[in-house]
């Protein structure tokens, strides 16, 4: 059964149509690579999956529940289930790394402060970031901010993770670190959608791909299925010419 399903998704900003009848699904434990050129609207789909954007029409089913008609209050259970790893980390810059990671735990769990601290130390150790616990986001490098953002996103042990360009703008070391983290999370059975222009990471992590082009999903399937189709779009993707 599909854990995430998008049906006839349509979205426009003013007169500019971004998506027309976009449909795809992701099964439990799968990782879908959502790829396409810049401005194709990949992040719009990702944001809509957590209710940060509303489609003009269509359905977004998470665990069989259509989240489109839900209001902010009704979306809270969905947002506990679905984590969003923002492109820049989106860390709260007035809080330390510890406070950032404690934020969702304080908001949604009954854990006492010692348990929260223990969980945060454990999470940071797993991500290799123990030394940054008392630092503010402004004191961290871009790569570290992304990793902390990812650590914050997954600290509630979500069923689904949405990665928005997790390796964009990073050096090879941090790219590899992020890739390892995504693979480690994937091994735990988490379902994911990865929006990226980083072909090696996408190929290493994703089970299947959906190609966004001209407002629709132009191609989708596993990498073997896609390679068996004689499609110039896929060739361009593998050669890294879709940017």
């Amino acid at each position: 059964m599909a854990l995430i399903e998008i049906v006839n998704f349509k979205k426009a900003f003013g007169t500019k149509i971004i998506h027309e009848n976009v449909s795809f699904y992701v099964k439990k434990g799968e990782c879908l690579g959502l790829v396409g050129g810049s401005g194709a609207g990949k992040s719009v789909i990702l944001r809509s999956l957590i209710g940060l954007e509303k489609p003009d029409s269509g359905q977004i089913l998470i665990n069989g529940v259509d989240i489109v008609p839900l209001n902010e209050q009704e979306l809270i259970p969905v947002r506990k289930q679905v984590a969003y790893a923002f492109q820049g980390g989106a860390l709260f810059d007035s809080m330390t790394v510890y406070e950032n990671l404690a934020y969702p735990l304080r908001a949604h769990t009954e854990l006492v402060e010692t348990e929260i601290a223990e969980k945060i130390h454990h999470q940071l150790a797993e991500f290799g970031l123990e030394k940054s616990i008392h630092l503010y986001p402004g004191e961290l490098s871009g790569g570290m901010q992304k990793r902390i953002g990812l650590a914050r996103a997954v600290i509630m042990q979500p069923e689904i993770i949405l990665y928005d360009e997790p390796t964009a703008g990073l050096d090879p070391y941090n790219t590899r670190k992020i890739q390892e983290l995504i693979l480690r999370l994937k091994a735990t059975g988490v379902t994911a959608i990865l929006v990226t222009h980083d072909i090696p990471t996408a190929m290493a992590v994703c089970d299947k791909f959906a190609f966004l082009k001209d407002k629709v999903i132009a191609e989708q399937g596993t990498i073997d299925q896609l390679l068996s189709r004689d499609n110039s779009l896929i060739q361009q993707f593998i050669e890294g010419n879709i940017l």
């Binding site: 902010e72 809270i76 969003y84 923002f86 492109q87 860390l91 709260f92 969702p104 914050r152």
Partner: protein, 265 residues
């Protein structure tokens, strides 16, 4: 040849923005009232905002109030001297400060300092996706961002105005005794004798409205930043201008309302 001016489109555009603002602030007020009634309540954020809005604004408010009181006493004194009206200076200064200058000038100072700070801080949070992160983590930006700021303004502004009233009258007393040669005891006694509860109510009552005029537009413009850092500056300017205009224009209507209320008292 230049293209003909499309007047209907121009008028629509001019009307659209204030209507959007009114609608947006109304919705923000509705959401704020709705979320005020639900848990959790972030007390520590409120305390932080009280410190930022109140304590940090105090020097600015003190300087403004002191100089306002001193200037008023000087101007009234010099103007009334020709008619032998110097003994009326304490009454005039006190009444003007309590009813108008204290609340209005303090609020304008707060609109400039705090309103700009709120709009730019919230706008920057929008640009860096921190507001999205608050929502994505299953929490409410209204609860985390708007409610602490609105409540802080509602708590702090009346207190700051009370302090400004005292300091303003002290400034008047200093100028009255040094420049106008009025007896200090006389000046002090006249202020106490001639100021009454109605003066306090007329001035103090306005501060709650002014607090909302500062906090709500500032949060609204900050939250509505869309296209990057350039808009943060625009939002900041709009927040300060709108809050200042609301205070100045609103003051007239509030003065009328409180005048009617005074007739009942």
């Amino acid at each position: 040849m230049s293209a003909p001016v499309d007047f209907p489109a121009m008028i629509t555009e001019k009307v659209k923005e204030p209507l959007e603002f009114l609608g947006g602030v109304a919705l923000l007020t509705k959401d704020t009232l709705k979320e005020l009634r639900t848990r959790p309540f972030y007390g520590s954020l409120l305390v932080d905002q009280i410190y930022l809005v109140g304590v940090k604004s105090l020097p600015l408010v003190l300087i403004t109030a002191l100089s306002t009181g001193m200037v008023m006493a000087l101007q009234y004194g010099l103007g009334l001297e020709k008619f032998g009206g110097k003994p009326y200076v304490p009454r005039l200064v006190a009444s003007t400060i309590l009813r108008e200058m204290g609340p209005v000038f303090t609020s304008l100072m707060l609109a400039a300092r705090v309103g700009a700070g709120m709009a730019s801080e919230i706008g920057s949070m929008v640009v860096t996706q921190q507001i999205d992160a608050i929502r994505a983590l299953g929490t409410s930006p209204i609860k985390k961002i708007v409610i602490p700021r609105v409540l802080a303004c509602l708590i702090v502004l009346p207190l700051l105005v009370s302090i400004a009233n005292l300091v303003g009258n002290f400034g008047g007393l200093v100028v009255g005794s040094t420049e106008l040669n009025l007896d200090t005891q006389f000046y002090f006694r006249r202020v106490l004798e001639t100021s009454n509860l109605k003066d306090y109510i007329a001035g103090f009552g306005k501060t709650f409205f002014f607090a909302l005029f500062i906090a709500l537009p500032s949060c609204y413009f900050g939250l509505n930043v869309k296209n990057g850092t350039k808009e943060v500056g625009i939002a900041t300017t709009k927040a300060v201008v709108t809050a200042s205009l609301l205070i100045l224009v609103g003051d007239f209507f509030l003065a009328k309302i409180f005048w009617v209320i005074e007739q009942w008292l």
